[in-house]
């Protein structure tokens, strides 16, 4: 960072005299190690950003021999009037909002179970956190195996319960719900871990004081604890939102956007446009709209979470 003047906080020897290598080393030596990493980050982030902004303004299909033509806002106009785009927006929001809110509620509930120690809690916690480190590709395969209409274990259970065979991925009414349940299975442990850490960070004297005042546990939870853990909650929700918008691997392994278009998320459609239709100008415009949607949603949800709590 050439624009930043470094003053060494500790251990620096300031001698007079400037100019030459030794002056440079003394002045910038402490921050010089940052250069390679920062350069790498700048190249890898700025270049794709600018590049995709530029190509989003072009009509450019890799399979088209006439190649690039400037299109202005053509791609964006095409997208905003396209029903499949709005379908993907709807599907993605349904997926993200339902999954993340249920994960938060379940994670918090399970964290309350684990809040006070009991024999064997460490072992159970170790079992509970496993789903979130399973590669999403494996999750996709495993769910396909378990939900298989012919021999899956879940089919065995639904038949035993008298519900018959259910095609969870093939039924248009069920496919998205099934993906949401899978996401909840994989990511509730993440919420649980953070909520548990958050609860353990609540100062005990506040809870004690509320108890002395004669407040019931339920009231203590809603009046005090929920307010005290709002920052960890906000961080966890923001991170989950960011990741839920990315959902791709599981769809790739299971429904591939189908049946019809009920699991066509934004990520899936961008992949489809860029790597199947090779329409990369369109895909780049799509990427920009998606980025705007993600940033806007995360900002809005954070504001809601932190303001609503603060106004109490």
């Amino acid at each position: 960072m050439p624009d930043s003047t470094a003053t060494l906080t500790r251990g620096a020897v300031h001698r007079s005299g400037r100019g030459g290598w030794s002056w440079f080393a003394r002045r910038y030596g402490a921050i010089l190690p940052m250069a390679p990493g920062m350069l790498f980050l700048v190249v890898m982030s700025i270049y794709p950003t600018i590049y995709s902004l530029v190509i989003s303004l072009f009509r450019w299909n890799l399979s088209d021999p006439t190649r690039m033509r400037f299109g202005g806002w053509h791609n964006f106009g095409l997208l905003l009037t396209d029903v499949t785009f709005w379908n993907a927006v709807g599907v993605t929001f349904k997926f993200v909002l339902i999954a993340v809110s249920l994960e938060l509620i379940l994670g918090l509930a399970i964290a309350l179970l684990f809040f006070q120690r009991f024999p064997g809690d460490r072992f159970l916690r170790a079992l509970l956190i496993l789903p979130m480190v399973v590669a999403p590709v494996v999750v996709g395969l495993l769910s396909r195996y378990m939900l298989n209409v012919q021999f899956g274990i879940i089919t065995f259970l639904t038949e035993a319960l008298g519900l018959g065979r259910i095609d969870f991925f093939g039924e248009p009414n069920l496919a998205l719900g099934t993906l949401i349940v899978i996401d909840i299975w994989q990511w509730t442990p993440f919420m649980f871990l953070i909520m548990l850490a958050a609860l353990q960070g609540v100062p005990e004297d506040i809870i004690e004081a509320a108890k002395v005042d004669g407040a019931r546990p339920v009231r203590i939870f809603f009046d005090h604890i929920l307010h005290l853990i709002r920052y960890p909650v906000a961080v966890a929700v923001a991170l989950r939102l960011i990741d839920a918008f990315r959902v791709y691997d599981i769809i790739f392994m299971t429904t591939r956007g189908g049946p019809i278009d009920v699991t066509q998320t934004l990520s899936w459609q961008i992949y489809d446009a860029g790597f199947k239709s090779l329409d990369i100008g369109y895909a780049a415009a799509y990427s920009w709209l998606m980025l705007i949607i993600v940033v806007a949603t995360v900002t809005l949800v954070l504001r809601l979470l932190l303001n609503e709590q603060a106004s109490r």
Binding site: T9, P36, G37, T49, P119, V137, L142, S287
Partner: protein
């Protein structure tokens, strides 16, 4: 309000009540944990089943372990190669991440500079960009330098993907270290670099290891970039898994064995890093 302390005889019913409550919580926690663990158990169980046992009408919940599927995964396909590719890519990108990350994080934590906060938050903001949104430009960039299909394209992308996390975590670990310890070393006449290597790094080792494990897990599990940037000879384990599923033959025992092989290393890693998992997953925001 002053509540009287309960007299001796009243203590025991209270205790019994507390015990019942604890037992109820423990029971509920057990059921929930088993529910979440059940699919993983089912995967490992299927991997250990022999032949047609996986397709039996009445599924068995306990089997005599048969490691044939694991052997077949290595002998009948290139999955062993895919696993070693994954290992190489994940380890290399993790090492690069730690080296680049520490050299950004340490000055960010210790040296006063203009725009410090802005730099830190700019790095954090990179985390919000969906990978799918940058994959086309990255693909074209890597193709123009002839790196698509090469292992190194993945090393580069994973290093980039995990660097923001690494910087934020390491910055926190370095900042947590009391400056007095480093000052003592300066007084002894050691230079900044020697102090960093001899004092700072050893003292923050647990944090460094936890960060490394997280980087490894994220790189190991990644699929989107791996699927697009690798060629036939350089596919990683998650990509290799997809090839087991063909319309013609779906050999679930072997798929589950391969899946278990993918999950096992990160499981061990996650359990080893458990103490730092929360901090790592929230980029240091929750300790």
């Amino acid at each position: 309000m002053i509540s009287a302390t309960p007299a001796m005889p009243r203590r025991s019913p209270l205790r019994t009540r507390a015990r019942i409550l604890t037992a109820t919580r423990a029971g509920a926690a057990l059921i929930v944990s088993l529910l979440f663990f059940a699919p993983i158990y089912w995967m490992i169980l299927t991997a250990l089943k022999s032949g047609n046992e996986a397709f039996k009408a009445t599924p068995s919940l306990i089997v005599w372990p048969d490691f044939e599927n694991f052997a077949l995964v290595f002998t009948q396909s290139n999955f062993g190669l895919a696993l070693s590719t994954s290992l190489f890519v994940s380890v290399t990108s993790t090492v690069l991440c730690l080296v680049l990350g520490a050299s950004i994080a340490y000055p960010l934590a210790r040296v006063k500079m203009r725009g410090q906060k802005h730099i830190a938050f700019w790095i954090l903001s990179l985390r919000i960009i969906p990978p799918i949104a940058v994959i086309i430009p990255l693909f074209l960039l890597l193709r123009s330098v002839g790196l698509t299909g090469s292992i190194w394209s993945l090393v580069i992308v994973y290093t980039y993907m995990n660097l923001p996390l690494t910087v934020w975590l390491l910055r926190g670990f370095f900042a947590d270290l009391p400056t007095e310890i480093e000052e003592a070393s300066f007084v002894d006449g050691a230079g900044r670099l020697r102090t960093f290597i001899g004092i700072t790094l050893p003292l923050t080792a647990p944090g460094l290891i936890a960060t490394a494990l997280l980087c490894f897990i994220f790189a190991w599990n990644e699929f989107l970039f791996a699927n697009i940037l690798t060629g036939a000879a350089t596919r990683t384990a998650p990509v290799g898994l997809t090839e087991y599923v063909t319309p013609v033959s779906v050999e679930w025992n072997k798929i589950m064995a391969a899946g278990t092989l993918v999950v096992l290393p990160v499981w061990i890693g996650a359990l080893a890093a458990q103490r730092y998992l929360v901090r790592g997953l929230t980029l240091g925001a929750v300790k």
